[in-house]
């Protein structure tokens, strides 16, 4: 009995992964098959970017300030306050900036995508597109995935800058440390592996969030309760995969740069 249940669950998981893979592939390869819906892409980029920007800025600013406050306090005890900028910089650029931006993005844009597509599925709007001969993967999935892969890195750069400014405010203005020391320690710390990790992650996260959110939205069934499940599922799955892929990308980048960790 238990074996049967396990087998069925594994089969379901296999089918889900298979459908997710097929949907993502169709969405991405739409770029090679006209018509390409550029107007929808621009609309999605606008919705994703402008809709998420303010929250990202707010979160990034306070993360930068909190991190700087914490590190300054610890380093003051050890007599290492001059290294505050260095640690804040490395943490923000390679780790906290991309992950925090991605989590905000998943909560704001990802959930939005899942609920919008879920509503379209339940309201037969996707069926209507298909009846009209329009490929919903091209019209709906492609703009969301590509829009996210473009906008999340842009948002992450802005978030990184804002966090560093938050750190600067605490370190230099509140704690009276020289601003030159703060910025120089960040500049010196910015080695290729940190910049590479911080640059690659937003692209990976953007793809993960958008494709998962589109998938959960597209597989919505069961009315309002189903829509609630899809939206929650999009956020939960995105969060888990962001954290796992963050580790994987960091490991790969460090390996590529010759670190044996």
């Amino acid at each position: 009995m238990k074996n049967g249940l396990l087998k069925r669950k594994l089969l379901n998981l296999f089918f889900e992964v298979d459908s997710y893979y097929k949907m993502s592939t169709k969405g991405i390869t739409a770029i090679f098959r006209p018509p390409i819906y550029f107007k929808d892409l621009i609309e999605q980029m606008d919705y994703i970017g402008s809709g998420t920007l303010f929250i990202v800025l707010l979160v990034a600013l306070f993360i930068g300030m909190a991190l700087s406050l914490q590190i300054s306090a610890e380093f003051a005890i050890l007599g290492l306050r001059m290294y505050t900028g260095r640690v804040v910089g490395i943490s923000i650029i390679s780790e906290i900036g991309p992950v925090a931006s991605a989590l905000v993005f998943a909560g704001r844009a990802g959930s939005g995508m899942a609920s919008e597509l879920g509503t379209m599925i339940l309201g037969h709007q996707v069926d209507t597109l298909r009846v009209f001969g329009i490929d919903p993967y091209r019209k709906l999935i492609f703009p969301r995935i590509i829009g996210s892969v473009i906008m999340l890195p842009a948002l992450t750069i802005i978030a990184d800058m804002t966090s560093l400014l938050g750190g600067y405010y605490i370190t230099s203005i509140v704690n009276n440390q020289s601003s030159t020391v703060y910025w120089d320690s960040i500049r010196i710390a910015m080695q290729s592996q940190y910049v590479a990790a911080g640059s690659i992650k937003p692209f990976v996260f953007g793809f993960i969030i958008s494709s998962l959110s589109c998938y959960t939205g597209f597989t919505t069934h069961g009315g309002a309760a189903g829509l609630k499940t899809s939206t929650t599922r999009a956020f939960v799955l995105s969060t888990i995969l962001i954290i796992i892929s963050d580790f994987v990308v960091t490991k790969v980048v460090l390996f590529l740069f010759g670190y044996s960790v």
Partner: protein, 240 residues
């Protein structure tokens, strides 16, 4: 025109359609009746191959569409015009943009021509005043009429498919929709209307199918329908 040949359809583990077969001509006015969740809408979606049957064949105009790839289905789908329950209008677009959607996507008509065509269609369904409104601002009856206008803009179908066209409407709006459906029939284009409203079925149909537990329990004309002695159908009629 439409032929269901021993069609079986499951949703998750539940059998929705159990080995059903029927043929419908494009000039017929068919009412498919049954309770909620009995697979009425599923039949419409199978006709358009929006769903794939688990067994059996679906034949449209002599062509087996059961396993046709999505890219080749546009030709088949153009033969029909469907109005989904609640209209299925694109809720981010205005009424005008909804009706113009297909014209902008597939024709080379200028904006002036599109505007003229959209107004013409909206006037035909008597919702011209709503041209700049969003779907959320429309009443249930208006939503369906706009959906009918949009389906007319999209194609010149052989047959119309209506999914619960009057559900949740007040009697006046329901009557308007019924009259509109009958007006569209004047070119001898048939339709299939899926409903659980007996009044709709009797007013619109000249052939009746009754579905229960995935089986077609009744298939006949109005007289046979009214004088049925099938217990399940009698129970349905008495409780409607």
């Amino acid at each position: 025109m439409i032929c269901f040949d021993h069609v079986v359809f499951f949703r998750s583990d539940r059998m929705i359609l159990n080995d059903i077969s029927f043929e419908i001509n494009s000039t017929e006015r068919v009412a498919i009746l049954g309770g909620s969740g009995e697979g009425k809408t599923t039949i419409l979606r199978l006709i358009l191959r929006l769903l794939v049957p688990d067994n059996g064949r679906i034949i449209i105009d002599g062509e087996d569409i059961t396993s046709k790839p999505e890219q080749q289905l546009r030709v088949v789908r153009r033969k029909f015009s469907i109005v989904f329950q609640d209209g299925a209008l694109f809720d981010s677009l205005t009424v005008k943009e909804n009706v113009a959607f297909y014209l902008r996507e597939y024709t080379s008509m200028s904006e002036i021509e599109i505007d003229k065509k959209v107004r013409e269609l909206l006037s035909f369904v008597d919702v011209e005043n709503a041209i700049d409104l969003m779907p959320e601002e429309l009443s249930g009856g208006m939503l369906r009429r706009v959906a009918i206008a949009r389906s007319l803009a999209a194609q010149n179908p052989k047959m119309f498919l209506y999914d619960e066209p009057t559900s949740d409407l007040d009697p006046l709006s329901a009557a308007k929709i019924r009259n509109l459906i009958l007006n569209l029939d004047e070119n001898k284009r048939g339709f299939i209307v899926v409903t659980h409203e007996i009044r709709d079925a009797l007013k619109l149909g000249n052939r009746f199918l009754f579905i229960k537990n995935g089986k077609i329990l009744f298939d006949g004309n109005k007289e046979e329908f009214i004088n049925t002695d099938i217990p399940e159908l009698l129970e349905f009629l008495e409780n409607s």
